[in-house]
């Protein structure tokens, strides 16, 4: 397994190259360049000024040169500077990571915990009223668009009930962990809804499928208790799709909570991404893509390794 992991890591490097090159190419076809974004429609700027800014940002070089230059710098750990305000890209990303990790961390944790729990309950108590109610609630969770859930949540819990602040990461002047937690809870809860719903469905479905397999029947016939049965035999196999789903959602971890970050003014990397696209900020976009791609490749590797752990029948050549 160690060799497998090593091989995966090595093949990831050309993959990252391909991804960054592809994104860079896509960007060249997008209408509008950083200058068009930087200078508002009714600002007068002379040709001379425009040229100066262009040279400074390196935009006057041919495209291939721009990419290679970026790549060279990236390999040395320098992701360049943001066009909008000249801040180093790596610092901007790093600054947005803690809030992102907090939001995702709490959201996914709540989602996995409740999702698997409800899934197991629903599978064990299959076809009873409890199962139906849980299933129904799960569907409701999956079928509500994120931004609607966010808006409604904000409206009900902040405006009408006054339980939470109206978005933001902290209260200006405060910033204690408790303050941040107060701001974090509502968006994290709403974020977890999707995960609870999805994971509950997958857990229940794969548990149901496993529960009827022969080896389980044999174990039951051998007199092994229901709880031990479920935890030891059934759950492990049922977790395969669960692990897949969590792995698949890693892409969302950094770029995905865009809607919630927008509505709750949560300073995460998702919004950073949208901002970068809006301002055609090439260094920013490339930087985030690189970081995101690396994280996802890593997560995929972990997912696959976990398959091996959960299901000993899976062998990697």
């Amino acid at each position: 397994m160690g060799i497998y992991a090593l091989r995966r890591i090595l093949t990831s490097i050309p993959l990252l190259l391909v991804i960054t090159a592809l994104i860079f190419t896509l960007l060249q076809f997008t209408p509008g360049d950083p200058l068009d974004a930087y200078i508002p429609p009714d600002q007068v700027i002379s040709v001379q000024q425009r040229q100066i800014i262009k040279e400074e940002l390196g935009l006057d070089q041919p495209k291939a040169v721009q990419y290679v230059r970026w790549l060279g710098q990236a390999l040395q750990g320098n992701l360049g500077f943001r066009i909008k305000n000249g801040e180093p890209v790596s610092r901007e990303i790093a600054r947005r990571l803690p809030p992102t990790l907090l939001l995702m961390g709490l959201g996914v944790t709540l989602g996995v915990a409740f999702g698997v729990l409800f899934g197991v309950i629903a599978a064990v108590k299959r076809y009873t009223t409890l199962d139906n109610v849980l299933t129904f609630l799960a569907f409701l969770g999956i079928s509500t668009p994120a931004f609607l859930a966010g808006l409604l949540g904000l409206y009900v819990f902040t405006l009408k009930l006054g339980w939470f602040p109206a978005g933001g990461y902290q209260t200006p002047g405060d910033g204690s962990p408790l303050d941040i937690l107060r701001h974090l809870l509502l968006p994290a809860l709403i974020l977890s809804i999707t995960y609870v719903a999805v994971l509950m469905r997958y857990t229940r479905s794969s548990m149901l499928e496993v529960i009827f397999q022969d080896y389980v029947r044999t174990a039951r016939a051998k007199g092994i208790g229901e709880t031990k049965l479920i935890s030891k035999h059934v759950l492990r196999n049922a977790l395969i799709p669960v692990v897949t789903v969590i792995g698949a959602n890693v892409a969302n971890l950094i770029g995905g909570a865009v809607f919630l970050e927008s509505i709750f003014s949560w300073p995460g990397t998702g919004q950073l991404y949208l901002d970068a696209i809006d301002s055609r900020d090439y260094p920013m976009i490339m930087g985030i893509t690189l970081v995101l791609a690396a994280v996802i490749l890593f997560a995929n590797l972990i997912t696959d390794l976990l398959y091996g752990l959960i299901d000993p029948r899976i062998r990697y050549s």
Binding site: T244, L274, Y307
Partner: protein, 292 residues
């Protein structure tokens, strides 16, 4: 006098048995019925509606539901009932077609990777990694900016971004199924790879795929809603459930004109519910070992 021939007995084919199992699953039947109603409404509803979905009437803006306008009117006086129904055509098309694309591409690639393993698996999975690593938002935004927004482009983009999950699910299932004893037995008996794959392995994959489809259609509809929120997807004046729902982005509309966005929202929920119940029923019906 006993009859010499017994009364004709209808043969119990697997299909018939599956159908019987399906019909016993109440929620699935409800789901099917609901989906059928929604699809029929979307196709024929705008024909029975009293108003054209694009007909503007500035003097009847934002009116609550009444006997004239069954779901009320929107900010330019258009009939919400007609618009919601015609929006259904767009949203359903996006959901179904994009999932179809994801399913076909993902299953083929996943089956190849899962069964053959080795370098085939490696290459395909790296390809999966590339696509999955592309944050869908940047691809959606960039492609939409280049080719322009629109229903057809939205379908293709969502479809092309959704296949990796199907691929991974199919592959994972096949990885475990491949090791199961009956596959080894079939191989020992001389069955060729392809026959074994198709005959024995694929049916076991169907239950996972069925869940994928039901969630995929829902996800397609929801992604379209998200795109509308970002200003892409389906553009006004064309209606989709997603861009009707985006009206709730204004606090006034969210609070004071709920009839403008709730029908679209409710239909999204109902459609997703229906597809999921349906998916459940299909899985139970098709899985030979399922019990009622």
């Amino acid at each position: 006098m006993t009859a010499l021939t017994a009364a004709p007995v209808r043969p119990r084919t697997p299909t018939r048995m599956a159908l019987k199992r399906f019909l016993r699953h109440r929620l699935a039947v409800v789901g099917l019925a609901l989906l059928a109603v929604i699809i029929l409404l979307s196709i024929f509803g705008p024909l029975i509606a009293r108003f054209e979905p694009d007909q503007i009437d500035l003097l009847s803006r934002s009116q609550p539901p009444s006997s004239v306008h069954w779901f009320g009117t929107d900010q330019t006086g258009r009939d919400v009932f007609a618009r919601t129904l015609i929006a259904g055509r767009v949203s359903l098309m996006v959901g179904i077609l994009s999932t179809f694309i994801s399913l076909v591409v993902g299953t083929v690639l996943g089956a190849l990777a899962g069964y053959f393993g080795g370098w085939v698996d490696n290459v395909i999975m790296r390809f999966v990694d590339v696509v999955m690593t592309f944050p869908s938002i940047i691809v959606l935004l960039t492609l939409a900016a280049i080719v322009g927004p629109g229903v057809d482009k939205t379908i293709i983009i969502i479809g092309l971004l959704g296949w990796p999950l199907a691929c991974r699910l199919v592959r994972a299932k096949l990885l475990s199924v491949r090791e199961l004893d009956f596959i080894a037995a079939a191989n020992a008996l001389g069955a060729t790879d392809r026959r074994v794959l198709l005959k024995h392995a694929l049916p076991n994959v169907i239950d996972v795929l069925v869940v994928f489809v039901s969630l995929g259609v829902a996800s397609g509809i929801l992604t379209e809603a998200g795109l509308s929120f970002l200003g892409l997807g389906v553009q006004p004046p064309q209606a989709s459930w997603g861009n009707l729902l985006t009206g709730a982005r204004e606090l006034t509309v969210l609070e004071a004109y709920p009839w403008q966005w709730m029908p679209a929202g409710a239909l999204i929920v109902l459609t997703v519910l229906a597809t999921n119940f349906l998916g459940d029923g299909l899985r139970d019906a098709l899985d030979p070992k399922a019990r009622q």
